[in-house]
Amino acid sequence: MDKEKFVLEMHNINKKFKNLLANDNITFKVRSGTVHALIGENGAGKSTLMNILTNIQSPDSGQVYLRGEQVNFKNPLDAVRHGIGMVYQEFMVFPEMTVLDNIIMGFEQKKGIFIDYKESRRKVEEICKKYEFNISIDAKVDGLPVAALQQVEIIKVLYRNADIIILDEPTSVLTPQGVESLFHAIRFLVDQGKTIILITHKLKEVLEIADDITVLKNGRVTGTLLAKDTNELELARLMVGREVILQVEKPEYNIGEIILKIENLSVKDSSRVERVKNASFHVQAGEILGISGVAGSGQTELVEALVGLSNGNIEGQILFNGENIINETVAKRRKLGIGYIAQDRSAVGTNKEGTIWENAIMGYHRTKGFKTKHLLDYKDINSFTNKIIKDYAVKVQATEDKVKTLSGGNIQKLLVGREFLQEQKLLIIEDPTRGIDIGSVEFIWNRIIQMAKEGVAVLLISHELNEVMQLSDRILVMYNGSIIEHKNSRSLTEEQIGLMMLGGEIHEA
């Protein structure tokens, strides 16, 4: 690949958002006249990289070379002038205007101060003809099918003289026939000398259409390969495969009776889309049940339904110790013995503006209760807060400090301690170690194992495959709302689980 001519090179791109390293020293090179697939899970850094390329965001460091020359785009429009066009996942159209108006918007051919419609029309028609787009340019955009809207967007970037066209998840809105004709168009564009960057996470499509593939994971490049030399399994491993940075020892112990039993659970969100599809599984006392899956497979909705936070429509049964709790409030569920560690520790797990003790007693203040029903018992608050701080090694200076002054790892330990020290029977734990230091990760993993050893049922939902594989007694995979259970899940390899997470099927050897 090295000897080829690169139309675009991005070198050592770094971009940090607060605590999140969205792009970690990414180098991304695209050969002229190829389809280059950029793949990775949600949050892997694809969008950030493309936003940097089109200058919607500026990087913390790194260089961009276009046709061998270093470029410094001043604004997104500048990127357009340099021939980079992006077709977004959400189409940016004015539904009340015609196709032609939408295409020329902002880049009209002008005659004095007036729009030269004749010339504009001629140019658009020429593009349609040259690239074989069959669309009526005088139709109103409102009411066009999505496949046609996508064509409008592509014509728009061609009209703006783009030779590098970025397509962001173009197939997610299309029917299989739509995908076929899109691929036809892509091949045609490449034949005409254009370069396509295709952002996606659908492996089959990647292998079908792409020439080169760059895989991102957690902000880093995990692989740059030629499509003809790779396969789904390898791509799955690069995309979701684990990085063994840490290993914990998990002793053998007995597993007790069933604590949580889910039967035919379906969750529809507020726009009536089914997010969890007919899920059935159970968790036993002393067992850690891991659920892995790529982001957005329905894990959030499942957890919300279990904890009592769901705004959607829930059907089925959630049996906790044999009792159906599907209609109970969060408070009641907590009182029954369900602890919850939320995925988003800043927005849900803690109140960052609040003090450490205020965060420490949330939930506890009602489940364990203080001496009187309406008064805060500061003695109890202090002893509980200090117990968390001591037992969970939270580094704080004073319990009156605001939580936002703590580091991510310490916030997470505080919140894990809060839930673990309430003598719960079931712990629902979402991504307990996302973005925290390795010492804290090890600490929290050991505590989760210890809780299970003490007979607590643990449901672990994590996007880190390694975490699930290290801690779980059984592993379920969630894909597109469905729970997939493999009868001998502990024996699965990471490649196999990775493939299940991406919708593939594993063939028994």
Partner: protein
Amino acid sequence: MKLKISHEVKKTILRYGISIILTLLFGSILIAIQGESPLEAVGHIFEGAFGNRINIGNTIRWIISSLMVGGAAIVAFKSGVSNLGIEGQLYMGALSAAIIGYSIELPHGLHVMACLLAASILGMLYALIPALLRVYFKINELITTLILNFIAKYLTEYITMWIIMGGQQSANGSASITTPQILNTARLSTIIKGTTANTGIFIALGILFFIAFIYKYTLEGYEFTQIGQNMSFARMGGVNINKSFIMVFLMSGLISGMGGGIEVTGSYYRFMPNFSNNLGWDGIMITRVANNNPLAVIIVSIIWGALKQGALHMERMTTLNRLVVIIIQMLFVLFVSIDYDNLFSRWKEKIRLKKTNSKGGSSIC
């Protein structure tokens, strides 16, 4: 430990320090361009507020109003409820106090209590409307309370003119729309002769201390604070958001209504439309300046009351209009609302970035 706490304190001092300096600066310019000396104007305000017994009495009268609306606002805003309807709840309370005040006869203490009770209940019920609309129909209280203000204002005016006065305003030639004066037994006692400084000050202070107590020592207060700061967090912890919302709305409405009642039984002795002169909005500004701290509301209310009374004196003694003082108050509210700490750290970050860019020349922005 010391270091961290002093950081918070430092932030607070920074915020108020900068705000006061900026306000003084802009205020002085505002006064100077009208050809008056800023120093002299401040002197007149101060004299008007605290110069003699009568002035102090009148200042106290305005402090009472500020405390009540400040209390009503803080309960709501500290708990994440944007009750913009204090004004309307105030009107409902004031009218009901006036009606009880003139229409029935009771012994002195009892009569006052009956007036204030009626005012509180009406204020509370009036706040229940937006609360229920929010909880059951998910209608944002910003809109409902705002609209209910207009309804309250015109409804009370209508009741006063067409039901209480029987629409006879033009017949007997009386120029103003007003209820009859309330009976002497329905009036709060004055504490400084010759002014309308009244025992309402003790009620108002009591309410503020009660609010401070609720937020510091009760489970409900803890939950309200958590809802106000992060609703998802409170929900995750099992707090009943809807119940808390209704409780907060009722408390806020109760205090507003009682505030209206105190205006009538303590100072005006009757209800007339437009009596509040946007008093309800003062409450929101007072809470803003007090940074949601119930005890700070007391201090801010004293300043607010003094400015209101002092401005009248300044208007008499200089060519300045007392609206100048209101503008200066608003400026202060604006300046206090700025997050200086964040602003400075962002500036620092920008300067740092610029430096590295010009040095390295390697970045592409």
